[in-house]
Symmetry: C2
Subunit: 139 residues, 2 copies
């Protein structure tokens, strides 16, 4: 299945989720793990679409989500930096989800620079993560 | 806001709903009203996007849906026939929602031909409407 970049942007505006997970993790430098991920969840009937998106970006994994749902998910930092961010910089999201993307982008680039390993950088990442998705709506 | 046709297809694959409502209605020829509609529901923060879609197709209305949600909705038969169907015939949906679209299309064209005013035509329309959306999943 061949996907047009604008189709991918429209579908992501509808179904994509840019998320930054923050979890306590004793093994990490500051006791906290930062997990940025882009996910698209679909009913299993459209799993072919998730595989087409995976192929389009040439990264991520297609996994079972819950119940009848599957997801495509990108977590690897270098793939977020080299494949996801350049795409969404060039092909601008049209929904307010773009606000999430821009914060997500800052988090990923901070992590590429290792700033999540400093208390100050981590503080900013946590602040950004709280302003995304549902946090954004209650601002 | 300028929308690319492929963006509109991608967003509809994610967020669009092709639906055929069937309601009892004493004033109608066979006591039943057939109501095909295309809707896209969004959080009110993205109402500008719904207006851009309305402008793109040059039809439909943007209305309050429920809670914080707004919707763009097309119900007028001639707009479904002359603006929505030609677009989605040309720009093919990539998700399984295309199956709903094809049934929706048949219902609209039956109605344009007045077939919903015959018992046989109405029977087929009701059969098609039951195979759409959630009905499709349980087939």
């Amino acid at each position: 299945m061949n996907l047009d970049p604008q189709w991918v942007v429209g579908f992501t505006d509808g179904e994509g989720c840019f998320h930054v997970g923050i979890a306590r993790h004793a093994d990490m430098t500051l006791g906290v793990q930062v997990l940025p991920e882009l996910t698209i969840v679909q009913h299993k009937r459209d799993v072919a679409l998730l595989h087409a998106i995976k192929q389009f970006f040439n990264c991520g994994v297609v996994r079972h989500n819950h119940g009848n749902r599957m997801c495509w998910r990108v977590r690897r930092l270098e793939h977020l930096k080299d494949r996801i961010i350049p795409f969404f910089d060039k092909h601008v999201l049209k929904s307010r989800k773009r606000q999430d993307y821009l914060k997500f982008r800052r988090v990923v680039l901070h992590m590429v620079d290792g700033r999540h390993l400093t208390a100050e950088g981590l503080g900013e990442i946590i602040r950004l993560s709280k302003q995304m998705n549902r946090g954004r709506e209650s601002e």
